[in-house]
């Protein structure tokens, strides 16, 4: 019952962005992936989500190899993501952004959509309703009718996370979800993430903020220069001398 990455590597020409890593992201738990800038964290997300082809290794979901599937196929397996540099549909409203996240739950047939059958219209109402509820959960209902591109950074993050979890994926990969948020805001996000995990979703939290990860994660992986240098429970990992050195070395 998990997403597994086995011996996965991604080379760009001579550059080994990710060089043979093994990870497991179990459902119903929060897994952390930390590491200094340029360690290859986002590359891992892109390898899982179908943006990059793997140079070596494979990605499996419940034992099924998904390493050759395309971006949309991977998502339809129930693996959702957010982007490090937030990517909303900037001209669409906040509500429409979340509604498009409900695509996988949209049961409108092609004929109904083109012929304007009542079923298509009622499905649209149902999804609006559901998107609205989700905005409430993230405390951004009052922005529902605004263009998403015009929101403050922190609110854009929330819209993107709401969109990613809208179709109730089994795995969500969150790339720096609390970047640019203050203590209170990131606290609100943390409780949403816990609820998600309790409802059975597996979360992969890619973060820079070690404290946030340590507080929230069941298990943490540390990536440095494309290799895993430590893994385990947050407490052990954050005390690991190799990790401390990678962080200090990375910042010096």
């Amino acid at each position: 019952m998990s997403l597994r990455i086995e011996g996965a590597a991604k080379h760009f020409g001579g550059l080994k962005a990710v060089d043979g890593i093994n990870m497991e992201i179990p459902f119903g738990q929060i897994t952390g992936l930390i590491g200094p800038n340029g360690a290859g964290k986002s590359t891992v997300v892109n390898m899982i989500s179908g943006v990059y082809a793997l140079t070596h290794g494979r990605v499996t979901l419940d034992g099924t190899d998904i390493s050759h599937e395309t971006v949309d196929q991977v998502n339809r397996r129930g693996i959702a993501r957010t982007f490090q540099n937030i990517r909303l549909l900037p001209e669409a409203t906040v509500l429409d952004n979340v509604m498009i996240g409900l695509f996988r739950k949209d049961r409108t047939s092609l004929a109904a959509s083109l012929l304007g059958l009542p079923s298509a219209m009622s499905e649209t109402r149902r999804l609006r309703e559901e998107a609205w509820e989700l905005l409430g959960r993230f405390g951004i209902q009052q922005y529902a009718d605004l263009e998403a591109g015009g929101l403050a950074y922190g609110h854009q993050r929330r819209v993107e996370i709401a969109r990613a979890i809208a179709s109730q994926p089994r795995i969500v990969m969150l790339d720096e979800p609390v970047a640019g948020m203050n203590e209170v805001e990131s606290g609100e996000m943390a409780s949403i993430f816990r609820e998600l995990a309790q409802s059975g979703t597996g979360l992969l939290l890619i973060e820079h903020n070690v404290a946030f990860v340590a507080k929230l994660c069941d298990r943490v992986y540390v990536l440095d220069s494309g290799r895993l240098i430590a893994e385990g429970d947050p407490e052990t990992v954050t005390r690991d001398p190799k990790v401390i050195e990678a962080y200090i070395g990375g910042h010096a």
Binding site: G50, V51, Y52, A53, H68, T70, V71, D72
Partner: protein
């Protein structure tokens, strides 16, 4: 017969190369398609024609046409592209605005020429032929070939051996970074558009001479031809454009001679489709033409 057709095709291809080089240069720097390029080519022929019939020496008319079309091209940049560069999402908008410039230039030319087909007065360029190896070549064809070889070599040198070339490459890879490095993107755009326009203008004069026919719609088939050339050569690749232009010139000459001119057009555009399908980056290009949804 066959060799003669290949020779004629090479000469046509050499002129296509002049046209396509400017088109691909602009794409290389801006990542935008300039649909007004065909009308600028036409303007070159028009300016040289009117200068000649008004008594100016032919060589001066050519120089005038080349400089004027360079300037028209710069104006095109101002009118069609400058605003869009600031906005982003310019890919579609640029197709529309440059099409707008194209329509305006064609309409002006139509009014000026009263929709007539014009031709240079007899004797504007000496009509002489040379024979050898069973082929016949005109003085004009020789001049065209020599001129194109010199210009392509000069452009190659300018872009690969001078500081301007480095600036072009800096701006085309990333405008923000190049601004940080102190490269003035404005000056690069001005030079790029001038060179592109001047080359197209010269191509217009040469085609006007060769076929002895100048009219306001003459740019259209050349623009379409240029699409085929740059797609096969790889959009943004100068060497690719030259080789593809020669290839297309020869294919066209042979298909017209042995099949028919309509079929020739169909064959050439089918080549474009096949290239897009199987070699979307062309044969010499590095441009990222595509890759959507699939792993890379």
């Amino acid at each position: 017969m066959l060799l003669q057709q290949i020779l004629n095709g090479t000469v046509s291809g050499a002129v296509y190369a002049l046209f396509a080089l400017g088109f691909t240069l602009i794409f290389g720097v801006q990542k935008l398609l300039n649909l007004a390029h065909g009308a600028i080519f036409m303007a070159g022929a028009f300016i040289a024609y009117y200068a000649t019939i008004n008594g100016l020496p032919f060589w001066f008319a050519v120089v005038l046409a080349v400089i004027a079309t360079g300037l028209v091209s710069i104006v095109t940049d101002f009118v069609a592209f400058r605003q869009l560069r600031k906005q982003g999402h310019a890919e579609f908008a640029a197709i529309v605005t440059s099409l707008g410039v194209d329509l305006i230039l064609m309409n002006i030319a139509q009014q000026v020429s009263r929709t007539q087909v014009l031709s240079f007065p007899f004797g504007t360029f000496p009509v002489e032929f040379y024979r050898g190896f069973g082929m016949r070549i005109s003085l004009l064809q020789i001049v065209i070939l020599v001129l194109v070889v010199i210009l392509v070599a000069a452009l190659y040198w300018y872009i690969h051996r001078t500081s301007f070339g480095r600036q072009i490459r800096a701006v085309s890879s990333n405008e923000t970074t190049s601004a940080l490095l102190g490269v003035s993107s404005q000056s690069v755009y001005l030079q790029t558009f001038f060179i592109a326009g001047a080359l197209a203008g010269l191509a217009g004069v040469l085609i006007g001479l060769q076929f002895n026919s100048i009219h306001f719609m003459m740019g259209e088939p050349f623009l379409l031809q240029a699409f085929v050339v740059v797609v096969i050569g790889g959009l943004g690749s100068l060497m690719g454009a030259v080789l593809a232009a020669l290839f297309i010139g020869i294919v066209q000459s042979l298909t017209i001679a042995y099949l028919s001119s309509e079929l020739s057009i169909a064959i050439i555009f089918t080549l474009l489709f096949v290239t897009l399908l199987f070699f979307p980056n062309g044969f010499f290009g590095k441009a990222d033409t595509f890759a959507r949804g699939s792993r890379r």
